[in-house]
């Protein structure tokens, strides 16, 4: 049913664009209300029928994906939830995609956070992604939730020498000494990869400066779009790659879907969010092209008339 909707709306949009192209080849300008209508219709149909586009990962995202792919099984991966509900739509999908990727490869997961609101979102990930999709994952052996700790960069300063100085227990109050995942882990330096997900302070930048650089731990930040340009300069020396905004998240989700059959039907909120955006972008770009074709056509005609 929805498929029919998708086809009909795509047909209408692209057919309409073609008609307008022909119209403007006669050198006439399109009324702006037609443009409005196209933008509205394309966005609305993408929302209603869940139109998604397969994203091909840009190199900067692909580096992260491949890094996880190439880690030996049972590597230790830490994900830090450094965001709040306001930033959630952009970056929570990244955290979820990381969790899926890490567990499907059989890595060990350590979840923590530097933002107080991050803890609830961590629980959400565990309850709605981790437990239903990986029923065999055992708490304490495959993943552990350290939870939120106050102290901002101070926390990082401590865990780079010793986790137990900061976290005597996990989020549920179990002593770290009785959690198998911490048998051979002393500090953040024992991690094989760290995914800080966030966009404020403290956030991925602090992870790079306080843990990645001094401890020589690979860092792959997941960032909100507004701060991504500020972190780009750290790539590729201090960050192995990075995910910027909804687009970065969508690319990662797309890579996961492409490479793992089991994720074909999981929720991909970032890809879904990109759908209407991409539709709108394509429509706008189509109009720019149409406008220029019409413009050149009109100019040539004027030139010919002049002769």
């Amino acid at each position: 049913m929805t498929n029919i909707g998708v086809y009909i709306s795509l047909l209408l949009i692209f057919g309409g664009l073609l008609a307008i192209l022909i119209y403007s080849l006669k050198g006439r300008d399109v009324d702006r209300r037609i443009i409005f209508l196209f933008v509205l219709f394309s966005v609305a149909s993408a929302i209603i029928f869940h139109i998604e586009f397969e994203e091909s990962a840009t190199p900067i995202v692909k580096k992260v994906f491949e890094f996880v792919e190439n880690l030996p099984p049972e590597s230790k991966i830490l994900i830090s939830f450094d965001f709040d509900p306001a930033m959630k739509p952009e970056v929570h999908p990244m955290a979820n995609a990381f969790v899926r990727h890490a567990l499907v490869k059989g890595h060990k997961l350590y979840l923590m956070g530097l933002w107080p609101q991050g803890q609830a979102l961590m629980t959400e990930t565990i309850e709605y992604v981790l437990k239903p999709e990986f029923p065999n994952a055992v708490y304490g052996e495959d993943y552990v939730m350290l939870g939120y700790k106050a102290g901002n960069e101070g926390v990082l300063n401590v865990i780079i020498t010793d986790f137990r100085k900061m976290y005597s227990t996990d989020a549920h109050g179990t002593s770290l000494d009785s959690i198998p995942l911490f048998d051979d882990v002393k500090s953040a330096k024992d991690m094989d990869l760290i995914f800080p997900v966030g966009g404020g302070k403290p956030g991925p930048k602090e992870w790079i400066l306080f843990v990645g650089d001094p401890g020589n731990v690979p860092i792959a930040p997941g960032l909100a779009a507004v701060v991504a340009p500020l972190i780009y300069p750290y790539y590729p020396r201090q960050a192995i790659g990075l995910l910027g905004g909804v687009k970065g998240a969508a690319e990662y989700e797309s890579e996961l879907k492409k490479n793992y059959k089991e994720f074909e039907n999981v929720e991909t909120p970032a890809l879904q969010m990109m759908g209407p955006q991409t539709m709108a972008h394509i429509v706008i770009m189509a109009f720019i092209v149409i406008g220029n074709i019409g413009f050149f056509r009109a100019r040539r005609r004027k030139w010919q008339e002049g002769n």
Binding site: N157, V158, K165
Partner: protein, 406 residues
């Protein structure tokens, strides 16, 4: 063989070192009543009055506790005013550094303070010696800002210098700014068509320099409007801007010799709410169909909403703002755009007054200084970093300190 021997020797030396080190540790370690080992206190506490402040800040620095690398919880900072008791003022997490510092900005000017640092670990808390007493003093002049003062004097001096040059009667050349040249024509067009001119001074209040620039331009524009006997309409989103704009337009009409043609409602207040204001201005545009729209001042997301509606009604549009984020939309949708600096220069340009034009020439000197500094500074630091050419070291240091803002 020799290699083996030296390896052996170094082993012995390291072993000795360790023995001595642990022995020393044992000698100092104190045991508290419960039987746990107390950490060793931090040492070398240095307190000093913070420089170039209002007297309310004291800087504290200390060397880490020898136990710091072995794992501690952190440091407590205690403060005593005069001869009073020590009170805890802050807690600092360990960071693996050799020494720590803390800025206490909660002291009273003129009072003397002593500080004590304690280290906390699982073994307990142990205290350092009390520091010497330091008074929070103020300084009359902020030496950290000396470079800014010098640069400010250079720029302001050249502006004032050229004002005087112009006053002395020397003719100064100023190039044409097309957006401003078009202004008079735009007003003329509105007069011909018998439609009003819409003036939007941005959405910020009088405490923004862009609004201030808009008001100085309004003074010129309303003078032209009064001379042409045209009509100006100015909805505003701030009451204070309304009051100021009324004063300005009234005076322009007075100067044009037509005080009777002025009425207060040329400028009217709409609402402080950003998009409420935009909704109303959009309505005014499509209903009154102004022939010319001027958007000068501080704009945010509304820039494109206004400019597209203005375009739709076929108005000539001239915009100007200093916000780089909104300039693209004005450039895309308006006929002329005053980019950044041009907005602030507009009033002087329109005045045609030689003295004010002189100030524009002075501004150019400022740009020249900036460009010269960029070239010299960039070359100096490049040479120093790429070829370790020490000779230019002083130059790159000078450029860095000249443009540092702490």
């Amino acid at each position: 063989m020799i290699f083996g021997k030296s390896l052996y020797c170094s082993f012995i030396i390291i072993a000795c070192f360790f023995t001595v080190a642990t022995a020393q540790n044992e000698a100092v370690a104190t045991v508290d009543s419960v039987g746990q080992i107390l950490p060793q206190p931090p040492g070398n506490i240095i307190v000093a009055d913070h420089k170039y402040d209002n007297g309310g800040i004291i800087d504290i620095a200390w060397d880490r506790s020898p136990d710091d690398p072995l794992g501690i919880d952190g440091y407590n900072i205690y403060r005593a005013c005069g001869d009073g008791d020590f009170e805890i003022v802050a807690f600092v997490l360990p960071g693996g550094m050799e020494s720590y510092s803390f800025i206490d900005d909660k002291v009273e000017r003129g009072e003397s303070y002593r500080y004590k640092i304690s280290v906390i670990s699982s073994g307990g808390e142990s205290f350092s010696e009390s520091s010497v007493s330091v008074r929070g003093d103020w300084e009359f002049f902020d030496l950290d800002k000396l470079n800014i003062l010098i640069l400010g004097i250079i720029v302001c001096g050249s502006v004032i210098g050229f004002i005087f040059t112009a006053r002395a009667g020397r003719k100064l050349f100023i190039r044409k700014i097309s957006g401003l040249e078009a202004l008079e024509e735009a007003v003329g067009r509105a007069t011909e068509m018998g439609r009003p001119i819409l003036f939007i001074p941005g959405i910020l209040d009088m405490d923004d320099v862009q609004t201030l620039a808009a008001i100085t331009i309004l003074a010129r524009v309303s003078r032209i409007v009064a001379d042409y006997d045209s009509k100006i309409e100015m909805p505003v989103s701030r009451s204070l801007v309304m009051t100021t704009a009324r004063e300005t337009i009234k005076n322009s009409y007075l100067a044009a010799g037509r005080p009777d043609a002025y009425y207060d409602d040329m400028v009217h207040y709409v609402t402080d709410e950003q998009f409420g204001y935009v909704a109303a201005v959009n309505g005014i545009m499509v209903r009154d169909k102004p022939a010319t729209c001027l958007y000068l001042g501080a704009f945010f997301a509304e820039s494109l909403i206004l400019a597209e509606t203005g375009n739709y009604i076929g108005a000539i549009q001239i915009a100007g703002t200093a916000r780089p984020g909104q300039l693209p939309f004005f450039v895309a949708a308006c006929d002329y755009t005053l980019i950044g600096e041009e907005l602030f220069a507009a009033s002087a340009y329109l005045s045609g007054d030689p003295k004010q034009l002189g100030s524009l020439k002075g501004q150019d000197v400022g740009k020249f200084v900036a460009m010269a500094a960029m070239i010299i500074g960039t070359l100096a630091v490049t040479v120093v970093s790429a070829w370790q050419f020490k000779f230019f070291g002083w130059l790159s240091d000078l450029m860095y300190s000249m443009f540092s803002t702490n």
